[in-house]
């Protein structure tokens, strides 16, 4: 029986000698998947679903805290739109890593181990969990892992996680009405007529029938 702090100490020790994410036994332990089935081949397409409606969510409170902090570092409130956490991105991440399908099962260890790495790295550098860090400290870590191709070797696995986690966060945020409003998607409304772009815009771009 090990408590979380012991686990992290063990991880830090392990990290010094073997690439963190390749430690099989540990991976098996944290990624054991609760039995769950999917929505089947004929789900009700009309009713709204929320994460947890079809299969149970599986992240711990601590994992969700780290997940939320990282979502908001990736897409923070910038005055024009709120942070990712506030539109349910953490629930989505939890739904994603708890899902019974191959693509999600592949992501599950990447996300869970990556979140653990964020905390371990925060502890190593700043003696706090990632969620408790101030923005400059969070950025100090993220700056080392935000470029998958340019990351230093010791950050390569963490950078791969960050890249995946950023895509999950971006995908979840910009597929909500809040995200749509931010980037200026104004469709999904019935129209009596569709006339295409305004003539002035086409003219400005040098496009349209006159410029074919």
């Amino acid at each position: 029986m090990t408590d979380r702090r012991t686990t992290i100490k063990w991880m830090l020790a392990a990290a010094a000698t073997v690439p963190l994410l390749e430690h099989r036994a540990w991976t098996q332990q944290i990624t054991s998947q609760p039995a769950a089935s999917g929505y089947g081949t004929d789900p009700d397409l009309l009713k709204p679903y929320r994460p947890g409606d079809v299969w149970p969510l599986t992240l711990s409170a601590a994992q969700r805290r780290t997940a939320a902090a990282l979502c908001d570092v990736i897409l923070p409130d910038d005055g024009r739109s709120p942070g990712a956490e506030s539109v349910g991105v953490v629930d989505f991440i939890d739904e994603w890593v708890s899902a019974p399908y191959p693509r999600q099962l592949e992501d599950r260890p990447i996300v869970i181990e990556g979140l653990a790495w964020m905390d371990a790295e925060a502890l190593r550098r700043f003696k706090k969990d990632f969620a408790q860090l101030g923005e400059p400290q969070q950025h100090a870590i993220c700056d080392d892992i935000c470029r998958e191709s340019g990351a230093r070797p010791e950050f390569a696995r963490a950078a791969a996680f960050f890249s995946r986690y950023r895509d999950l966060t971006v995908g979840a945020f910009y597929s909500t009405s809040t995200g749509w409003k931010d980037i200026g998607y104004v469709g999904n409304v019935p129209l009596a007529k569709f006339e295409g772009p305004p003539a002035e815009l086409l003219e400005k771009l040098g496009l349209g029938p006159k410029h074919a």
């Binding site: 397409l45 990736i74 923070p76 895509d167 200026g184 999904n188 129209l191 772009p197 305004p198 771009l205």
Partner: protein, 598 residues
């Protein structure tokens, strides 16, 4: 929508399948006063009640992304289908990935017409006589002129937008057949201008979407001359279909019947005649042959009870989709047909063709940071590029024999989960406030290109019955064999370089690698879901399964009205041609029945 058939009723015709082929066949026959029993392997499906018209990604599990259970995304209309169907396996002959064939099925009333892309291009004159042009493949026993009147009818009935441009082997339509095309979006205009400078013509696409209400005053009399009952019924149904409301993806289906699906266009008027009965959850296993050498009926599994039943009729029509039709024939063995019914030629299951597919995406600075615009439009294919290389091919300049067209789309479409994924190649790995600025900048600046090209039939691409594997109903399943020839792989490589050239001509950059190795560029067999062939028509019984009327050479009252009879698979998407041939065959059946010849 389905009506349970009264017990022991006698039918003139059994139609197996309810998609484009079965829908059109049943429509034409029932309008002509012929009684039809339709058997559909999937469940009843009611688009008016089941279509998720405005549901958003965040209302669906996993933001509506694809899963093995909903392979085209949660809101795709496909029910009980996809690349796999639970309990209904199929077998690959090899583990070599380049020689696999993946088979998309939909077990639902209306089949794949509920979710298809609605692209409705006519085959051209060359496409019916390809062997005559380049010595490859086979010629059809019919020409464009034989099919043209039926293209006219289908377009008038289902509603297809487009224009007649008069380009080579790219037929237009007589006045009154086509609806006006939808307005293009900004990225469409840009592709049109820049591809045009490369000599690639960009013209309005043809899709089965109502850009305005159908002509219910004039068309019924043209569709059903001398048949006032049919005219009245079809006019009523044309009136009941709304025009497009320029929102929600057609692949979800359409609850207002503004696009073509068999369930909203073919089956309602056919049912209104009182001549059509539909049994759903009826999985046909084989055709029953009578002692007189004629088809007596079919056996099917009632999936609800698991019981095997038989239905009889004067004529049997298989319209189960190309491979499923071949499967039913191959499973219908008897003393007189030990290798499968109507297979004296040995050609049942042979010459399966899909469409050559390859795609590439570009990012275009000119499209960055544009003002918010509603660009949902017709949700696809306002414009496209028909094949432009016929003359070069004739002169032997291209290294592959047949053509392709380009489908493309971009702009400020509904952002789903993947709309802004992988941005780090553009942003240098931004996160935080900078990433939000980047998202605003790059959203809408991508344009995707997909080539759709002709595959030439070959001896290595076919299906047969697996000797061991059966589905959960006990019906032997198909085993697939597949091989692309260099005509297809070189064509796929050509697509990649053409897309790259267009992206560069737009001042854009290609996202991801340009695959100049055709074997890498080409999509796997079956992937484009345009499989046809497997029971080709022909002028001679020794080398084909049916005659030009989709009637099997071996069994007088057995017809195949789906893509199985295709002799070639032009770059033009097959569905419109399936419907035109089905209408033509059904007219022939009706005529022969009236003359008591069937």
């Amino acid at each position: 929508m389905s009506s349970r058939a009264p017990a022991n009723q006698q039918y003139d015709v059994i139609v197996v399948g309810s998609g484009a082929a079965g829908g059109q066949t049943a429509y034409t026959l029932s309008m002509e006063g012929i009684s039809v029993l339709m058997l559909e392997a999937g469940r009843n499906y009611v688009p008016e009640q089941e279509t998720p018209m405005f549901q958003t990604p965040d209302q669906a599990p996993l933001r509506a992304t694809a899963s093995p259970e909903k392979a085209f995304g949660f809101y795709d209309s496909t029910v009980d289908g996809g690349w796999t169907v639970p309990g209904e396996p199929y077998v690959q002959s090899t583990s070599d990935p380049s020689r696999r064939f993946t088979w998309w099925r939909a077990r639902m009333l209306g089949g794949r017409t509920n979710h298809w892309g609605r692209i409705s291009l006519r085959n051209g004159p060359y496409d019916f006589k390809p062997h005559r042009r380049d010595g490859l493949g086979f010629d059809w026993p019919i020409s464009y002129e034989d099919v043209a009147p039926y293209y006219d009818k289908v377009e008038r009935l289902i509603g297809v937008y487009g224009t007649s441009e008069g380009l080579e082997n790219t037929p237009g339509s007589p006045p009154g057949c086509l609806l006006p095309p939808p307005a293009p979006v900004v990225s469409d205009y840009l592709v049109q201008q820049r591809a045009g400078r490369l000599g690639i013509p960009i013209i309005p696409g043809h899709r089965a979407v109502l850009t305005q209400q159908l002509d219910y005053k004039r068309s019924p009399a043209l569709l059903h001359p001398g048949n006032p009952k049919a005219q009245k019924i079809v006019a009523d149904h044309m009136k009941a279909r709304a025009a497009c409301i320029w929102a929600t993806d057609c692949g979800r289906g359409c609850s207002i019947r503004a696009n073509y699906q068999s369930t909203t266009v073919h089956l309602p008027p056919a049912l209104a005649t009182g001549n059509l009965h539909i049994i759903t959850d009826a999985m046909v296993s084989r055709v029953v042959l009578g002692a007189n050498g004629r088809a007596k009926g079919v056996t099917y599994i009632d999936k609800k009870s698991g019981a095997e039943r038989q239905a009889n009729a004067r004529v049997v029509v298989l319209a189960a989709s190309a491979c499923e039709t071949a499967r039913i024939l191959l499973n219908s063995k008897s003393a007189s047909f030990p290798d499968g019914l109507a297979n004296s030629s040995g050609k049942v299951g042979r010459y399966i063709m899909d469409t050559v597919g390859s795609s590439l995406r570009g990012q275009v600075p000119m499209l960055e940071s544009l003002p918010p615009l509603n660009e949902d439009g017709a949700t696809g294919e306002a414009l496209y590029a028909p094949w432009w290389g016929y003359q070069d091919q004739q002169k032997g300049r291209l290294g592959f024999a047949r053509g392709y067209h380009i489908e493309f789309g971009g702009g400020r479409r509904m952002p789903g989960f993947g709309a802004l994924s992988g941005l780090d190649t553009l942003t240098g790995g931004s996160y935080g406030r900078k990433l939000k600025q980047d998202a605003r900048r790059y959203y809408g600046s991508f344009v995707g290109f997909a080539g759709r090209g002709e595959m030439i039939p070959n001896e290595n691409s076919y299906c047969e019955i697996d000797p061991d594997v059966k589905d959960k109903w006990g019906i032997p399943v198909l085993r697939f064999h597949w091989k692309w020839s260099e005509h297809e792989t070189r064509q796929a490589a050509h697509m990649q370089t053409a897309f790259e050239a267009i992206v560069q001509a737009m001042g854009g950059r290609v996202m991801g690698p340009v695959k100049t190795d055709g074997a890498q560029a080409i999509s796997p067999g079956g992937f484009i879901i345009h499989e046809v062939g497997g029971a080709i028509m022909g002028a001679e019984r020794k080398s084909s399964v049916t005659n030009q009327w989709c009637q099997t050479w071996d069994v007088d009252n057995l017809f195949l009205t789906d893509g199985a009879v295709f002799v070639s698979n032009a770059d033009k998407n097959p569905t419109l041609t399936i419907m035109a041939l089905a209408w033509r065959a059904a007219d022939h059946i009706a005529d022969r029945m009236r003359r008591k010849e069937l």
